[in-house]
Amino acid sequence: MIYDVAVIGAGIIGALTARELAKYKLSAVLIEKCNDVAMGTTKANSAIVHAGFDAVPGTKKAIFNVLGAELMPKVTSELSVPYRNNGSLVVAFSEEELPELQNLLERGIKNGVKDLKILSKEELLELEPNISPEAVAALHAPTAGIVCPYEFAIAATENAVTNGVEFIRNCEVKDVEVHDDYTTLITNTGDIKAKVVVNAAGVFSDDIARMFGDDTINIVARKGEYYLFDKAVGHVVFHTVFQCPTPMGKGVLVTPTVDGNLLIGPTAVDIEDKNDTSTTYEGLMEVLNKAHKSVPTIINTRDAITQFSGLRAHAKSGDFIIGFSEKAPSLYNLAGIESPGLSAAPAIAVHAAQEVANKLGLTELKEDYNPIRPQPIRFRYLDDEEMAELIKKDPRYGRIICRCETITEGEIVEAIHAPAGARDIDGVKRRTRAGMGRCQGGFCSSKVLEILARELNIPYEEVTKEGGNSRILYGRTK
């Protein structure tokens, strides 16, 4: 069969684009080289919906950021993805930084960002009492927000699959053969043919483009390291707190997450190896030291629950690369989608799907398209009556597997059997939060392993942390 569209990469860009494509009467496949969706940049970033004052007016970054942020409440509500409109602050720590706030304000107004305001020190400290007393002023952007990026991509993929998109995991594109009216993607699991190929391969999007003979894209992997803290300190700030960009870099942010944790980071270091998501002693120290500048007293590494790093797909040309390739007419590039890529994603997806549908001449919409991804059961948010009712109906919801986050067996089973469901321990963790809490899976990972083995009907030894060779167990004891 020849698909109308193949989307390479199930990060937030590929997943949302696949979902938008599913609105049209066309056939689409979403392929992902890892064992799950959201395995690249999407699972390791600041999880921020930027208001849109950062990007240079007129750039794709500026346009799609503002449009994306506007779409965010609707899309996240359709997909039942946690999103909170908490607003952001850019804090100036000296008089010299004040002109930069003014700059950002003016740029934001040009970009169409609403309700921006510069706050005095007193106004700032009233909003955020834990901010350093060194602060002199701040730019307040009430339209900014926070979102869970991996849950966003998971939900979008789920919804795309429900609406007829095929999802193939562990499928890596090794090469392509471009024909007149279709392209063959040669993958480790066989050939896939499609009329249009959407390149949403993140840090590898230049490699994919090159297979098509398009060498105009150059992506640099720019590593950012982060610290995640326990919910006990998740309320230290309410807003997402940025520092003023300086010639030395953007500084680090301090932000609550939608799940109530505290996130600080990132660093910014260009690296050669696009697979290198290791953290470093120096990087983590830098994050801590810089975050202390914003919130001096409260951040104690004793409350840290994990550290991680993610890679931004930075295009050397600077702006997002969105559109059909000039070198390969069947290739639609979505490349160089670094910050504010997550914020822009909903708008990029709508635009890309429209352009692809137009090109194919398949702009007719499906009558039975359902934009709603039902809210998975979240036991911890139910009231007593709802809990009792649910357990009566299905006792698996009465068996709590993850103590730290109060996640039940029922939720884990549901995550495994969902469309494009979890296949490994980290997949369960990203979908349900089992293992995401303060003990980091110390108690529950063995139980999750048992449930995965049972539900997928595989031996214990074949259960992995995140696909590939990441197995947990090495056979029986003596």
């Binding site: 610290y227 995640l228 697979n275 998501t277 290791s278 953290t279 470093t280 002693y281 990087g283 983590l284 590494t301 004793r302 840290a304 629950i305 994990t306 550290q307 991680f308 007593d384 809990m387 009792a388 357990i391 009566k392 006792p395 698996r396 009465g398 068996r399 709590i400 103590r403 730290c404 109060t406 067996e409 303060r438 003990c439 980091q440 899976g441 110390g442 108690f443 990972s445 063995s446 048992e450 214990y460 030894e461 992995t464 942390k465 995140e466 696909g467 590939g468 060779n469 990441s470 197995r471 947990i472 167990l473 090495y474 056979g475 029986r476 004891t477 003596k478």
Partner: protein
């Protein structure tokens, strides 16, 4: 809503002993709420011996030790609910629990005994840089895979942290044929029991590398190795001392944290050093009628002391139920030079009994003196050939000393080094 005299939260060694003691003291309606499928708590996976030497004067395995209490329990009418996890405790002693068989359970208790135990500190809490592959896990998780499930979590093992679980797992993995390369300890001394260092490392030729830590984890999908390095006196890695060690598994035994999320939900005051509730000599917390014992209160070295502590808490709870809320006036314990913490934190001045003070020292001492003062006056001075943070110490305040206490009296413990 069901009414009970005592609700015991947790069916591990502390909960079992507390429930049995309360029954023995004549309390009628007692319930144990346990989240696991079976009673016994962490003892169920501790198949090594060394339990019960003090309490039973016998050397038992973990399941045997727990079994003694579980057998006793069967002879009583204590209500036991396994597979039932408490999700909330309110300050007025309403316990909410859920379970597949129970559904949602609401219990109004006259007294509550907290016995939830502790959890292991994970990798993230000590910020080890590097990759995040499979094969990094806490020693307790590995112990569960090996002893309960019968699976090997790896073949070439490095262990970080020389706490007792790390030492026990070094031996356990070696016995299962794994190559245990080393145990690294960031401190200049081990936090484990001396007997465990001999029986688990020395006897198996496993090196203990002191003042050494893991500074990087290698391997994308599965652990391929770790970089270890020496640390200076401030525990910072020393450049130039790095060494690559090939392994497929890194086990962590880097500390235990009392699990007090439920205690906090009830509003119990938590001590920032022990991580457990502040308690008096009967193990009553800052909320009258809520008691705590075992590792949820302070991390113990030996289960025997958990049992004794649980019995004390049960006595306290029984008394509370029988006599009601009598007014208490407190003296306070204060950790002075060389002492990290003392449990209990306060003593009812009208407690007409001997009171054992449990404490840990901050560092290793040789030929030092433990000195106890009441309001500045030395009441006990005892020579100790060796004191180590890994071994819990006790001193007994006799009834006549307790009688001297006044409201707000200070009971200080310090270590004095002989010159």
């Amino acid at each position: 809503m069901i009414n009970y005299d005592i609700a015991v939260i947790g069916g591990g060694p502390a909960g079992l002993a507390a429930a049995l003691k309360a029954k023995e003291l004549g309390i009628e309606k007692i319930i144990i709420l346990e989240r696991a499928e079976t009673l016994g708590g962490i003892l169920e996976q501790c198949i090594h011996t060394g339990f019960g030497l003090h309490y039973f004067k016998e050397e038992l395995s973990g399941p045997e030790y727990a079994g003694r209490f579980i057998e006793e329990l069967k002879k009583t009418d204590i209500d036991v609910r396994t597979n039932t996890m408490v999700v909330d405790i309110s300050s007025d002693k309403v316990v909410t629990a859920v379970g597949p068989n129970e559904g949602l359970l609401k219990i109004q208790a006259k007294a509550i005994i907290l016995a939830m135990g502790c959890r292991e500190r994970p990798r993230g809490a000590i910020s080890i840089p590097g990759n995040r592959p499979a094969g990094v896990m806490t020693a307790g998780t590995a112990q569960k895979y090996v002893n309960i499930h019968g699976y090997m979590p790896g073949k070439k093992i490095v262990i970080l942290g020389s706490g007792d679980i790390g030492l026990i797992m070094a031996r356990r993995m070696a016995l299962e044929g794994a190559e245990v390369k080393m145990v690294c300890e960031i401190l200049p001394y081990s936090g484990g029991l001396a007997r465990n260092i001999v029986q688990c490392l020395d006897d198996y030729g496993i090196p203990l590398k002191l003042s050494t830590t893991v500074v990087e984890i290698h391997g994308r999908e599965r652990v391929e190795g770790v970089t270890i390095a020496k640390v200076d006196e401030k525990m910072r890695p020393i450049k130039g001392t790095e060494e690559y060690v090939e392994c497929d598994t890194l086990l962590l035994s880097v500390g235990l944290i009392p699990e007090n999320e439920l205690s906090k939900s009830a509003g119990v005051d938590i001590n920032c050093i022990t991580g457990g509730p502040d308690v008096d000599e009967m193990r009553e917390t800052s909320i009258r009628g809520i008691f705590a014992c075992g590792n949820v209160l302070q991390v113990h070295d030996l289960v025997d002391y958990v049992t004794l502590e649980a019995q004390l808490a049960a006595e306290g709870a029984a008394e509370y139920i029988k006599k009601g809320e009598e007014e208490k006036k407190y003296a306070y314990t204060v950790n002075q030079n060389g002492v990290r913490y003392i449990v209990p934190q306060k003593i009812n001045i009208n407690a007409d009994r001997d009171v054992d003070l449990y404490f840990r020292v901050c560092q290793i001492y040789k030929n030092a003196k433990v000195v106890v003062k009441i309001d500045g006056e030395t009441v006990i001075s005892r020579k100790k050939p060796k004191l180590a943070p890994g071994e819990m110490e006790t001193v007994k305040l006799k009834k006549d000393m307790i009688a001297k206490l006044k409201e707000d009296s200070l009971v200080e413990i310090s270590v004095e080094e002989s010159l």
